[in-house]
Each structure stands twice: as C-alpha cells, then as structure tokens.
C-alpha cells in the first residue's frame, strides 16, 4: 500500500523549537559523569578545563539530548512534531530504533540554553523485515544554543512495524 498524500506532505516539515527545561549546568554534568564513570577532566576539573582550548568546563557532547529531555512535573504540553501525525497504512503499533547518528559541531558550556527542532526526513514504503512488516521513518533533530548556533544533530531511523507472530 502506498503512503497517503497526507503522509507524503509531512516529509520535510520541521517542528517549532522545543526548549530544554534547564540551562546546561555543572551538577547535571557531574551526575552524568558518575553514571558513566568518565574521568575526562574537561567535564569536571576546573583547573584543567581553564588551561584547555575551551577555556573552561564543557558538557560531554553526548549529553546533547539529555538537556532537552522533558520535565516530569508539571507535565509539559508536548509540541507538534511531524512524526506524530503520520497515518501510515497498515496496522503498525511497535517501534524499534534501527540506526542513530549523532554529530557534534560546537562545545556546549554551563549556562547554555539548548533547544531542538525535529524534522521528518523520509518515510519508506512498506517493507518486509526479519521482525515484521513496517515503514522506516527517518527524522533529524537539530540542536541549537541560545545564540541560534547549531551545536549538533541527531539523525535517527526507526522502524514502525507489526511484530511477526
């Protein structure tokens, strides 16, 4: 079954910016460092970080997504994203992430306020896979700081499918 005209019209559309609830900060960096046991001094050693090319502490680049995770309370209203409106022919109710690419462009520092937009890059026609039939959906999340500079991107492909019984 082909994609509907509505679904095809969603390809290329991008959401409005979704803001991080908090600014980038040293306590959250330290909590992340504890979980990963990452001794990189750029993240926690003030003296070392000052002497580095960054001139001060930076957040681990891979925390890019963490800053933008939503609040738990009060529960936020989720903004419109193109993926939420996809109709997709067929009876698909399960998601699995198949591929995730993250690119890091600029350092993220304590005090930065990050936001992201989500763009729907593409939706495949129905494919038969090892785990069931479904559609591959590719989205790009573009992360910016408070100056509007793009600090990084995440390109993600998920399979929305019906598990083979």
């Amino acid at each position: 079954m082909a994609l509907s005209e509505k679904d095809r019209s969603l390809i290329g559309r991008e959401s409005a910016p979704i803001y991080a609830p908090d600014e980038v900060c040293k306590p959250m960096i330290r909590h992340w460092v504890e979980a990963v046991e990452d001794a990189n001094p750029l993240y926690t050693d003030e003296e070392y970080a000052r002497s580095s090319k960054y001139g001060g502490i930076i957040a681990p680049p891979q925390m890019m997504m963490v800053w933008c995770m939503p609040r738990m309370w009060p529960w936020p209203e989720f903004p419109w994203v193109p993926m939420a409106e996809l109709e997709l022919p067929g009876d698909y109710d399960t998601y699995v992430a198949t591929d995730m690419i993250r690119e890091f462009y600029l350092p993220v520092r304590p005090g930065d306020i990050l936001s992201y937009t989500m763009k729907l890059d593409g939706v495949s026609e129905e494919k038969k896979t090892r785990i069931g039939k479904g559609h591959f959906i590719t989205t790009t999340q573009i992360y910016r700081n408070q100056r509007g500079e793009i600090v990084g991107k995440e390109i993600r492909t998920v399979l929305k499918y019906k598990p083979e019984t």
Binding site: A35, V36, N40, P41, Y48, P61, V66, R102, E103
Partner: protein
C-alpha cells in the same frame, strides 16, 4: 596539575586495539544512569514493570549506553581527543546484574576530505562494542579528532 594522556594522530594505526573496561550494572547503577539522562521510563527503574514486558529486570537506557561507548574513546585518546560523530546501534539489552564490557579498535585513520565540519581534521574511526555478560548489547562507530604533531616537512 596532573599530566593527562595526549595521543597524537601520527602515533596510532589502523586496526590498533583501544583497550577495554568493565562495569558491573546493578539496579542502582542502571537507575542512576536513567536519572542522569533525565529518563523516567519505568523500564529503567521498576523491575515489576520490566517483568510484565518479558524482561528479567530493568535495563540500561540508550543515552547511558552511548555514554559508556564514548567514554572508551576518550579514555584511550586522553582529553585532547574530540568526539565528532557517533553512529550507534542497539543489539540487545543490558539487564540489572549483567557485567558490561566495553572494548574497541581503530577502523581507520584519515584526514577529513568531505566538505563538512570535519574537513581537514586528523580523524580516527573507532569500532566500540559493548557486551552484557558476554551477549551483544550495543556498538558504535565513533569518529574522534586527534591532535597532530607539528610536522616541519608538511605545509
């Protein structure tokens, strides 16, 4: 100030091992990783929820998993190695009680040729793999930029 490792691009070679480490992923560590990444999904905190979904116990979340892989890259390079790109895949789950082993090697070293943010940088692509008690957990191709030595014969 402590002297930190500084690996130069010229001193590494294709295929080279980049070391490994182990972490015991008990339930507290898994929940810690989920909170540190602001993830309230009960699959990372609530054993009875995980069991209803046919898992034996809670599992490590994706952002924590990626952190575990990227850590090996910069442990190996020292803090002058810069994370540029990460292509990540999930292969299985790391469940409370599992031992997570992270290891890797250099796929290739090169100078960025494509017309993008990595152009002209001295790069290595690393294959980093994580196992959960010996079973596939996740892996990534991580692109790191390394400092290059001053070379009077070039430029």
């Amino acid at each position: 100030m402590q002297k930190w490792k500084k690996l130069h691009w010229e001193d590494v070679a294709d295929g080279q091992d980049i070391g490994s480490y182990e972490m015991q992923m008990d339930a507290v560590k898994i929940s810690c990783g989920a909170w540190a990444t602001r993830d309230s999904n009960p699959i990372h905190h609530d054993k009875s929820f995980a069991e209803r979904g046919s898992l034996k116990d809670i599992i490590v979340n994706i952002m924590h998993s990626e952190g575990l892989l990227c850590r090996l890259a910069t442990d190996w390079s020292g803090p002058t190695g810069e994370l540029k790109r990460n292509r990540f895949n999930i292969r299985g789950s790391c469940i409370a009680g599992d031992t997570c082993t992270v290891s890797g090697n250099i796929i290739k070293k090169y100078i960025g040729q494509e017309d993008n943010y990595m152009k002209g940088l001295h790069l290595v692509d690393l294959q980093v793999n994580a196992l959960a008690s010996g079973k596939p957990f996740c892996d990534a191709v991580i692109t790191l930029a390394l400092p290059a030595k001053v070379d009077k014969s070039s430029h």
